[in-house]
Symmetry: C2
Subunit: 216 residues, 2 copies
């Protein structure tokens, strides 16, 4: 993004409020158009020109704010994720619930993630971006760095707090523990092996925390 003319309002503060409102409206229209097009056409056939036409803005408006198609889409996704997180899950700013009950907190977050993944507004563009990241290492790295990792870090922080409370085995690698929880969710969603349900989320939390082997 060009930081002298960031979306959401000019940095120099000299423009009238009308201009700022127009910018905000354009930014939102561009995000919506980008997400809709990538869902309809796939990543490869989505173009800056197409986004501009669908959003009803000139393509120079887009080029002024973002250096590339990937950059527009990544911010559209960040915005979508922010909206999704600020919606019904109830943990936008705190990042992750921490009630002291690790299993309950994980079930809440994994169930909310299931709902998000099953939401058609979110699903089609996220599939398109994930698919492209799988074959394009550079885009994939951006996807992980900007979208996935920040959310995985919230899990890691919650596990650290659990460890401090004596609720984790000694020596557990938190990053791997997070993948044990979110990996099976993503696997079932991406590959559509079986329906992605709250029951599945609950079972994953149970199995990951208690293990598959009998306690003796």
């Amino acid at each position: 993004m060009n930081d002298t003319q960031a979306p959401g309002g000019p940095a120099d503060g000299t423009k009238r409020p009308d201009s700022s409102r127009r910018s905000e409206r354009s930014r939102r229209a561009i995000y919506d158009a980008a997400l809709a097009l990538v869902a309809e056409l796939g990543y490869g056939r989505t173009t800056i020109e197409g986004i501009a036409a669908r959003a009803g803005v000139g393509k120079q408006t887009i080029y002024r704010w973002w250096p590339s198609k990937a950059a527009v889409l990544m911010e559209a996704f960040l915005d979508l994720a922010d909206q999704a997180a600020g919606g019904d899950t109830g943990f936008p700013d705190t990042g992750f619930p921490d009630t002291g009950d690790l299993a309950a907190d994980l079930r809440l977050v994994l169930r909310a993630t299931v709902d998000e993944m099953n939401n058609p507004v979110y699903e089609a563009p996220t599939r398109a971006l994930a698919a492209e990241g799988i074959v394009d290492p550079e885009l994939g790295a951006q996807f992980v760095e900007k979208l996935l990792d920040p959310s995985l870090q919230l899990y890691v922080r919650r596990l650290r707090s659990a460890e401090a409370a004596g609720q984790l085995r000694a020596g557990i690698d938190h990053r791997i523990a997070v993948e044990l929880l979110v990996g099976p969710l993503a696997h079932r969603w991406l590959l559509r092996t079986l329906p992605l349900t709250h029951e599945y989320a609950d079972a994953l939390v149970d199995y990951a925390l208690a293990g598959l082997a009998p306690r003796d």
Copy 2:
């Protein structure tokens, strides 16, 4: 596949051996060409014509044996998976090692899967097919049914044997238990979150079997 003229040899048995050898050579060349092209161009830009040209056969040869591009590719992958499984892992026909030591058997299989996923010959075409399956539900369903599920069923069978030996908690859903093991592997591979190593495979087996919470 057209079952009256299956690759690998005509069904009527009237052709000379030379013809059968030529068929086998053509079949192999078509698989290799299909896998190479999908790795280079992606699924979308790979065509029957392109595969025929690369394999040095007429495109009618391909159409005689397979109804579609997806069908050729799926068989090329099945063949690749058979070769990979018959290679260094040592469990081609038995399906899955069963030494009585569940953790050791799972570590062996997950490490072999890591090696397979990190093998460039396997990696590029598999990524291309997985990416396409993520955005194309019909192809995705074929991918799961023909390639993924048969391999997941081998895990399920091994877990059943472990249950019979009293090595699993009561009431564990074997299908979900399998996803707890392979989901994080696929997640890390597909999204390239972190390097896919034997150590990661070992940790997954340990965490999945023993759980993350302390034993009290």
